[in-house]
Symmetry: C2
DNA sequence: TTATAATATAAGTAAATGTTTATATAATAA
DNA sequence: TTATTATATAAACATTTACTTATATTATAA
């Protein structure tokens, strides 16, 4: 049986993935780390909005970033896990 | 690469699972089919609200039901898939 | 038939999430 | 230093989702 906190975490993760921009970001990051403007250029989405989505992904534990000069390069914290999840829902 | 419609479907599925009541319902249904009032009694949630959540789960293709007399017994359409998804997010 | 039990639906309201616009910060380049 | 580039944050507004309350439907039991 799953505990209450486990379930909250799961719900948060599902929420993080239940937006098409965020799901796309995650899929792109499966190819490797990308900095914000690279990600931004992939979609027709404003810079602040991308930042906000990245923040949600970060908060839910899906991504993290490394500061490289004035760039922030985001990457999946656990790409294998993400692959499994995406595979499972297909 | 995932198509746009695939992604929409995935997003819808994640959305359906990103609510703790619905995730709990789904976990309960892994034990076997249950009718609405059985489900309702498991939680502190109103009857209409349970119906609404079940409707969302039905619409997203996760559950279906069989009418048995005046009972509606809900079941998971693809329990293996659900198990995999839940396993993957852990 | 009428009453009751099980469930769904609809309308209204509340709460959460998403997007835009404007502004801030931090790192580098000039 | 000052300007510029990359990114974040905050506030306002829009949209979506959730929940409640009231009512409808459908099947069975009396």
């Amino acid at each position: 049986m799953t505990s209450k906190t486990d379930r909250k975490k799961a719900v948060q993760l599902f929420k993080a993935l239940s937006h098409s921009t965020r799901l796309l970001i995650v899929q792109k990051l499966l190819e490797g780390e990308k900095c914000v403007n690279d990600i931004r250029d992939l979609f027709d989405v404003s810079q602040p909005n991308i930042s906000q989505h990245l923040n949600i992904l970060k908060f839910s534990g899906i991504v993290d970033f490394l500061q490289e000069g004035n760039l922030r390069c985001y990457f999946l914290k656990n790409p294998e896990r993400i692959k499994k999840i995406i595979q499972a829902i297909k």
